[in-house]
Symmetry: none
DNA sequence: CATATACCCATTGACGCCCATATAATCCCA
DNA sequence: TGGGATTATATGGGCGTCAATGGGTATATG
């Protein structure tokens, strides 16, 4: 599987280390399997992460926005200037920078949520709440979640 | 046959393993015959499953949504983070995650129902009950449909 | 020199792999 | 065509490996 899927809740130890779920590590290209990038999610109090290869994709997305719009500046500033690269140790663990932990309200545990080509890291309770709200919003709006899944 | 059809009731052993019915295994592409994805059914207290190929389809579809829209987040959260991939061992067995077993009320036995391009896993009694209710509903609708047509 | 980070090793529990058996299905040949 | 032999499937259990976690120590970096 070459997508980030499922969710995991891992502990943060005294040194601040947390294991990137094994299935997430396997998504990273064999070449750069010991490095990921992290940045603040724009729309939620969470951290987003992915392999370094994904940077190009993000750049493309932003490039597709209207160059003269405020969004363009906002996104490119908030995302690019805030991106942090972090190394994964031999055991598959990495450090979440203090600033990002604060932003996401993370303390002793981190919840990893697969999002396909990237993933999110949440304070567990907030993350689970968010999933629920997301699902309810989709069902309420009668958006065809079912079609997405079954057709 | 490249469709999931028929129904089977299999035991869950002490280790939590259950055999994926042989005919279901044969539906999976030879390439990814040792991995399936599972997720909570939206409308019923059951688990739905299918091969990983479907997941890639879904990923493609979500990726085509506006990256910065709320829908994008909702879909990718509700789908990717809720999907669980699980491996099938040499004997054709797999583990049903605890969370999904709870959702479906499954304990010692699992009932597999073919649904064409995907399948459902039920607590046996609930599953049989559901087929019956389904059948009755269908008959009722047929009846009223016929009345509509002939009156 | 002090703090932070990387590397090494250890522990625990879960999971995958292997082997075994019983029952059912299929085959094959007289 | 009948009946024994072979194969497949569902199931059970032992055991090694790996993932998640904890901690000690070296190294780096300012």
């Amino acid at each position: 599987m070459d997508l980030f899927v499922s969710k995991y809740i891992n502990k943060i130890d005294k040194k601040g280390r947390v294991s990137l779920p094994s299935s997430f590590r396997n998504v990273l290209p064999k070449a750069n399997r010991n490095e990921i990038i992290l940045y603040k999610s724009i729309k939620t109090p969470s951290i987003e992460g992915c392999g370094v290869g994904r940077l190009k994709e993000i750049a493309k997305r932003i490039n597709n926005l209207d160059f003269f719009s405020e969004d363009y500046d906002d996104f490119s500033t908030s995302i690019f200037s805030e991106i942090i690269t972090t190394n994964i140790d031999k055991e598959g663990r990495f450090l979440i920078p203090e600033e990002l932990k604060l932003y996401a309200g993370i303390n002793t545990e981190a919840a990893f949520f697969g999002q396909g080509h990237y993933f999110q890291i949440w304070e567990p309770k907030k993350g689970l709440k968010n999933t629920e709200v997301s699902r309810i919003r989709l069902l309420k709006e009668k958006k065809s979640l079912r079609m997405m899944l079954t057709q």
